[in-house]
Amino acid sequence: MKKKILVVEDEPHISKLVKFILEKNGFEVMQAFVGQEGIEMAKREKPGLIVLDVMMPNMDGFEVAKILTAAKETKDIPIIMLSSAAQFKDKMKGIDSGAIDYITKPFDKDELVAKVKEYIQ
């Protein structure tokens, strides 16, 4: 049974890139392009891990993470946040808001895979 990963990222190229890399590594990947969609999918599909982009229009990654960690259906799903390291606060916020780790963009695909493998449930 392949483990499921939910990728919440508004940039389609980057979303596709992550999907390709993770699928190559034997995971099933779902995509959501806006925060709200991500939340609903997470609740429905209950993935083993969520890759969550920080900089998204409308609802940003932190808000999504907050909601996910508050909802009983999704609170136990580990979240890795994707961020441009420009926002140094990201790190703190990311950890505070329930994300378990973070990766900076542009990322190293091996690092991404390693972390996913580490945290996925």
Partner: protein, 751 residues
């Protein structure tokens, strides 16, 4: 005849016995004399009189056969007439036919005297008086009568003398008691009215006068201050001028006077009806006459030496008591005044509000002085302007003012000396401020010797003010000047402060808006930078990511050349990423926006985890990594991301500039204040000329290797800043061709 004789003798004896009894009883003289005279009447003679000696006269003291009125008036000079001769010779005389005796003086109209018998009343050698008998018949008296009368006279002499002694004794006792009581009066009270009342009571009670007055001197007038039965007792305006009347005379000359018959004295001024004699005694302190004690009597010769002595004693003591009372009153008033002025001062000075100060001042003034107008003027621009006033209409107070030197208040302002006048028409420099003013006081207000204003008080009456008023006003003015000054200064300071505050407020507002603008710009900038860096990273992420995939064969097989070229694209995009990061970092550092998050940091733990990463980095070049660390290191405060960044940069550089199969050494040491890390490589080294500038922005050593490995020229500048933010410093030791050692420290003492 024999029977008659016996009968008459019997009668005589009886009378004698009775008289003897009477004489020897402790009655007063007058009573005795009258009794004797009455008794002798029974002997059947027409006239009997007893005369007592008064200096060179003998005066009738008791009589029958004489009209009442005459009794009071008859005084015979010793040596005149038969009675006078008897008084002189001290020998009895029996004159059987007075018409034949030249000496006989007829007095009285009713009796036509025939014969006279006069016997001296002698005690020891002293003539006390004369016992006189007269009858219309001639030869009325015989030797028997002479014997009897002589016997009577002798008894009478003793009795009178005794009585006088007793009287004088009594008098002395009375004197003593009066003196004692008077003394008590003085010590009992310092209140003038009480003293006067006490004296009055004492004199009236003890001395039995039927009237008495105490007059005190004020200027040249004697005012009635206390009286017993004086018609003018309640008239406060009644006075006697010095030198008028007996009292006035005594006041002027300071000598006591007894007038035995006021009708015969020119000085006498009748106040009551029927007064016959008067006694007046001065109240003196030393030579200063303070007043007069006055007594009058309806009897002639009512007062003797003893009375004078007594009253003088009372007067002496009274004068002292009155003096003490006056002094005390004055002291009390002064004290009271001082107290009041002090209190006023406190009240006036309790406010810093000039208007309040002035109104309180005017209020207190009105309690002491009777004025119609009062104004407080202050000097402004060399002229006196009225600042507050009472009694003026608003229009009048507006115009009320003066130049320095003009009018009374102008002069006071100029000279700094007060002026008091009870008739303004007599003042040469008087300027009419108001037609109605007659008296005026003007007092300067001075602060530290400098005149700051004037208080002006005016009255429509002449002689409205006296010296005391001036003193009071001056004292009050002194109290007020300080507070005026304070109020003025307070106002100045207040205004200055208000202005200052306004200025400060304005400046603050400007500053605040400037700051807000700066903040806004800053925010815009940082947003800009964040946005730009994010925008830049997004495409790069895609480029890097996909290139990586293709390069690694994840998207299908590629040939060697494709691989090589993609490799270049990959590394260049990585370089681009690094450049963006560095630019962002340096931008933050330069703007002071680089914020570090300090947390507990375990370097040992970090290095243990980091080892693997380093080894990965070094793998491609087969560079060996040696790390030496102490067994224990304290937990310090540091930003772990930044520490990683530092290590990444230095180790990255070391690897970059080293050839294959070289060694990279990392040595960690603990010093007293910091932890020291040394990274030594066996790379190409750095020429001396570059060493100095190596940590500056965009400094890159110009050699083929640099061009080969690329770099931003920003890395060292950034980590220098990061190290310094950790309380440390970075140094480099290097020799061209021999490698380099970069060493940096991190403080142990950061909070």
């Amino acid at each position: 005849m024999a029977i008659n004789k016996t009968k008459s003798e019997e009668k005589r004896l009886k009378i004698l016995l009775e008289v003897a009894k009477a004489i020897n009883s402790p009655l007063n003289i007058n009573k005795i004399l009258n009794y004797v005279v009455d008794a002798v009447k029974q002997l059947g003679y027409d006239l009997c009189s007893i005369l007592l000696r008064e200096e060179e006269f003998i005066a009738v003291k008791a009589a029958y056969g004489l009209p009442e009125k005459q009794v009071e008036k008859i005084r015979i000079k010793i040596g005149e007439g038969i009675t006078g001769s008897v008084a002189k010779s001290k020998m009895p005389e029996m004159v059987n036919d007075v018409s034949k005796d030249k000496r006989y003086i007829k007095f009285g109209e009713r009796l036509m005297t025939g014969s006279e018998l006069a016997v001296p009343i002698i005690a020891g050698n002293e003539l006390i008086g004369v016992f006189n008998l007269e009858d219309r018949r001639k030869n009325a008296f015989n030797n028997e009568d002479l014997k009897i009368v002589t016997a009577l006279a002798d008894q009478l002499a003793i009795s009178i003398k005794n009585s006088k002694l007793l009287f004088s004794l009594r008098h002395t006792n009375e004197n003593l008691s009066i003196i004692y009581e008077t003394g008590n009066i003085i010590n009992s009270t310092l209140v003038l009215d009480k003293i006067l009342k006490n004296i009055l009571n004492l004199v009236v009670k003890k001395l039995n006068y039927d009237n008495f007055s105490i007059l005190l001197l004020e200027g040249d007038k004697l005012f009635l201050k206390a009286a017993y039965k004086h018609p003018k007792k309640y008239d406060k305006n009644y006075y006697i001028k010095v030198n008028e009347g007996v009292t006035g005379y005594v006041a002027k000359n300071g000598k006591p006077q007894i007038i035995n018959d006021v009708t015969k004295d020119k000085r006498y001024i009748p106040v009551r009806r029927g007064i016959k004699s008067e006694m007046a005694v001065p109240l003196k302190i030393g030579d200063n006459v303070k007043g007069v004690l006055n007594v009058e009597s309806k009897k002639l010769n009512a007062f003797d030496e003893n009375d004078l002595f007594l009253l003088s004693t009372v007067a002496d003591q009274a004068a002292i008591a009155i003096q003490n009372a006056t002094i005390n009153k004055f002291l009390a008033q002064s004290n009271q005044k001082l107290k009041i002025i002090n209190e006023i001062g406190k009240v006036i000075n309790s406010s810093l509000d000039l208007d309040k100060i002035f109104s309180r001042f005017l209020h207190f003034m009105s309690k002491q002085l009777n004025y119609d107008f009062c104004a407080i003027l202050l000097i402004e621009n060399n002229r006196l302007y009225s600042r507050a006033g009472i009694g003026f209409t608003p229009m009048e107070i507006e115009d009320y003012g003066a130049d320095i030197g003009e009018g009374i208040c102008g002069m006071v302002a100029k000279t700094g000396k007060p002026v008091i006048t009870n008739d303004v028409s007599k003042v040469p420099f008087y300027k009419k401020q108001s037609l109605k003013t007659k008296s005026e006081i003007s007092v300067p207000l001075k602060v530290e010797g400098k005149v700051i204003g004037v208080v002006n008080v005016e009255s429509r009456e002449l002689n409205a003010f006296d010296k005391e008023d001036l003193v009071y006003l001056s004292a009050l003015a002194d109290q007020v000047t300080v507070s005026i000054r304070n109020a003025q200064m307070y106002n100045k300071i207040k205004n200055f402060n208000i202005e200052l505050k306004e200025k400060v407020d304005r400046a603050t507002t400007e500053l605040r808006s400037a700051n807000k603008e700066l903040e806004r710009l800053n925010q815009v900038k940082s947003d800009f930078v964040s946005t730009v860096s994010h925008e830049l990273r997004t495409p790069i992420t895609s480029i890097q990511g996909y290139v990586s995939l293709i390069h690694d064969g994840d998207a299908g097989t590629i040939n060697e050349e494709q691989k090589e070229f993609l490799g270049i694209v990959k590394s260049e995009s990585q370089r681009l990423t690094r450049l963006i990061s560095d630019l962002l970092d340096i931008s933050k550092i330069e703007e002071g926006r680089m914020q570090l998050i300090f947390d507990d940091f375990d370097l040992l733990d970090f290095l243990n985890n980091y080892k693997k990463e380093i080894q990965n980095m070094a793998l491609s070049k087969d560079i060996k990594i040696h790390i030496s660390m102490p067994l224990k290191l304290p937990i310090i405060k540091a930003d772990s991301d930044k520490i990683k960044q530092i290590f990444n940069n230095l180790i990255g550089n070391a690897i970059k500039f080293s050839d294959k199969n070289t060694t990279l050494e990392i040595v960690v040491k603990e010093n007293s204040n910091n932890i020291q890390i040394e990274i030594t490589d066996q790379g190409i080294g750095i020429a001396k000329k570059y060493l100095k500038k190596i940590f500056e922005k965009f400094q890159q050593v110009d050699n083929k290797m640099t061009r080969k490995v690329g770099g931003t020229g920003l890395g060292l500048a950034i980590i220098k800043h990061l190290i310094e933010a950790h309380g440390g410093h970075i140094r480099v030791k290097s020799k061209l061709g021999e490698g380099s050692t970069f060493s940096f420290t991190i403080s142990k003492n950061l909070k």
